[in-house]
Amino acid sequence: MITKVLMPKLSDAMETGKVIKWLKKEGDKVKGGDIIAEIETDKANVEIEAFGSGVLRKIVVDEGGQVPVGDLIGVIADPADDIAAVTAAPSKPAAPAAPSAPTAPGPAPAAPAPAAATASRPEPARREPLPAMESYQSVPATTGVMPAPSAAPASAVAAGGRVKASPLARKIAGQTGVDLRLIQGTGPGGRIVRADVEAARAAPRPVAAPAAAAAAGGPAAAAARAAFVIPPRPEAEYEDVPMSPMRAAIAKRMPQSKAPVPHFYVTSEVDMDAAWALREQLNGLEGQPKVSVTDMVIKAAALALRKNPGVNAQLSGQAIRVHHRAHIGIAVALDQGLITPVLRDCDVKPLARIAVESRDLAERARGGKLRAQEMSGATFSISNLGMYDVEEFSAIINPPEGAILAVGSVLQKPVVDGGEIRVGRRMKTTISCDHRVMDGAMGARFLQDLKRLLEEPLRLLV
């Protein structure tokens, strides 16, 4: 039996994926369920497992190769099978023969999805049915590690991420360990040629020179008297850093939101004195998880969404899809971009559980170890920049969701209280709403409820 290994679609936004690592070699025996490769999506690394058994006959996409979702990346077959036809033909089936795929309501049938919402999961209309007979399923990443963001990359990097370099330049770079991504090509169209590689090799390391000068400079007094010399600097005035897959996904996705989705913004200031006090009290409890302001906002937002279902909604073709459950996407900043892992059913989860789960998600998001299903299906998102000491900001809606809440810092400021001025804690929140789905008053009512929940924070606990 021949089983095609295809580039899996691991998230709604995923259009291409990169093979990071093959865990099996050509010729290795493979059992169904064996983990055979690691894939880097725009968001995380995911291991894929074999659907069929046999021998990994052919690796079609080598490590480092990036291909569109659904493309053939390998072939599993019996040693005697003739796989020429499979590897030669385009990998997508001409037509989805089985009726199962198009009508499948949820994500890949393999997803275990406990309480996890296949029913309410948004299905963008353009989503292509996964060829169900073809062979992979996503499994939790266990050892996947986000590749280190490339050091300080540059610019003969073509649109597809390929570095344009002459064959000779590549050879010399390979022999001498020069990283072509760091070099500015001077050949036609920015191609890196031999001279560029040799220049890069000969170039002084920008850091080494001043250090050496200081060492040779002797006593500090002498150094002070010495004329000011601009230390050797890299010749290039700037560099073009190639986008990480995640950055590219963000760059592609945000205009899809900001341009077609008419945003409106409603801001409200919340008195956080009570919430702050409650949080300190909770965090003083022995054996209880630490609760963050974000956790409280998540809980409050989820409860407010339940009260304001019109905000927990999104455009779906000609209809407005109103969600019955509150799955909150939490924006987590990473070095190379951001990611919004999804905390499900926040309206019914106790605050302590939200605290535990949100911390776990954020940590795994930073480690690139999120599972695919943890990155999709949010009905509403929250972005909290409070830790950066910002008063307020507005966020761009993460499509297909209908709204996003931007949360500023809890700041101490003079407040008027019963005719007196005192110091109070205040936090500004701004909701961005899709005007096609909801109106200003709805957004305002949501904020009103959110404000009340946070100002009377015991409501979060009952």
Binding site: S166, P167, A169, G187, V193, R194
Partner: protein, 326 residues
């Protein structure tokens, strides 16, 4: 060593080989009484008589066929095409008979035949008489194809061609007949078939060129030297078998290549050489291989248009600058 013209070098080669080997004879239009349309056979009738210097009717297929038959029976004919454009009339004899009889007879018959004459663009010979006819022959297994660019090579290669046991297409150039050069006097001076020569050493780019293109490449190289571009020029001399080793060796040194060709570029010798280079030396290339070829059009009669059709020194220099990223 004597200084002589390309034409005299060919004449000397014929004379020496005819003296050396009584089986060698020359046949063609006006090779005898008229001393050859381009005087390559000058004086040969007088020395060797009309049994060995044979004037023929104007019938290329006929006398080429006679040559193939004579070669099968043990003679070593040298067939002259008044111009190589006329060899089109003899294509069947050359391609189907001369090139294939050895193979189809299981090696019973060798065809030690030389077909020689001038080819390529000259001066206002117009569409039918300016063609780079080598393209018609080097595609055919069983033929050797020679294009000698200098008087010494003309002599050494023609002698090797006559001594070779296989059919050799030997295409001279009208424009080169008067070119003078030093030629070894040794009657056994041979230039082996299938061996290229480096005419000018350089370090920045390899230019592959033969015949008229070689001379333009040399001029371009002079000009470029003043700009600090060091051009190496390789003359393949024999197009089939091709001395890929020398060409690729040069490219491995310079890391760049420009291939020149007087005829139209499509499916030409330039394509073949470019393909060989990238197959053998891909990892040594620092720039794409460029071809500079004649325009894809029949040769115009008008002198100005003729000059436009054929690669000029300026065009060649521009291509070299491009691959050198200047």
């Amino acid at each position: 060593m004597s200084v002589m013209t390309y034409r005299e070098a060919l004449n000397t080669a014929l004379r020496e080989e005819m003296r050396r080997d009584p089986r060698v004879f020359v046949m063609g239009e006006e090779v005898g009484l008229y001393d050859g349309a381009y005087k390559v056979t000058q004086g040969l009738l007088k020395e060797f008589g009309d049994k060995r210097i044979v004037d023929t009717p104007i019938c290329e297929s006929g006398f080429t066929g006679v040559g193939v038959g004579a070669a099968m029976l043990g003679l070593r004919p040298v067939i002259e095409m008044m111009t190589f454009n006329f060899s089109i009339l003899a294509l069947d004899q050359i391609v189907n008979s001369a090139a294939k009889i050895c193979y189809m007879s299981g090696g019973q018959y060798n065809i030690p035949l030389v077909v020689r004459g001038p080819g390529g663009p000259a001066a206002q010979l117009a569409a039918q008489h300016s063609q780079s006819m080598e393209t018609y022959f080097y595609h055919v297994p069983g033929l050797k194809v020679v294009r000698p660019s200098t008087p010494a090579d003309a002599k050494g290669l023609l002698k090797s061609a006559i001594r070779d046991d296989n059919p050799v297409i030997f295409i001279e150039a009208e424009t080169l007949y008067a070119v003078k050069g030093e030629v070894p006097d040794d009657p056994d001076y041979l230039v082996p078939l299938g061996r290229a020569v480096i005419h000018r050493e350089g370090t920045d780019v390899t230019v592959v060129a033969y015949m008229g293109m070689l001379y333009r490449a040399l001029e371009a190289a002079e000009e470029l030297a003043t700009e600090g571009i060091s051009v190496e020029i390789v003359d393949p001399r024999t197009l089939r078998p091709m001395d890929t080793e020398t060409i690729v060796g040069s490219v491995r040194k310079t890391h760049r290549a420009v291939v020149l060709e007087a005829g139209a570029g499509f499916a030409g010798m330039g394509s073949e050489i470019a393909a060989e280079i990238q197959e053998e030396a891909f990892d040594d290339l620092d720039a794409p291989i460029e071809r500079v070829t004649g325009e894809n059009a029949p040769m115009p009669y008008a002198r100005n248009l003729e000059l436009l059709k054929t690669p000029s020194k300026a065009k060649i220099a521009a291509a070299i600058r491009r691959v050198c990223n200047r």
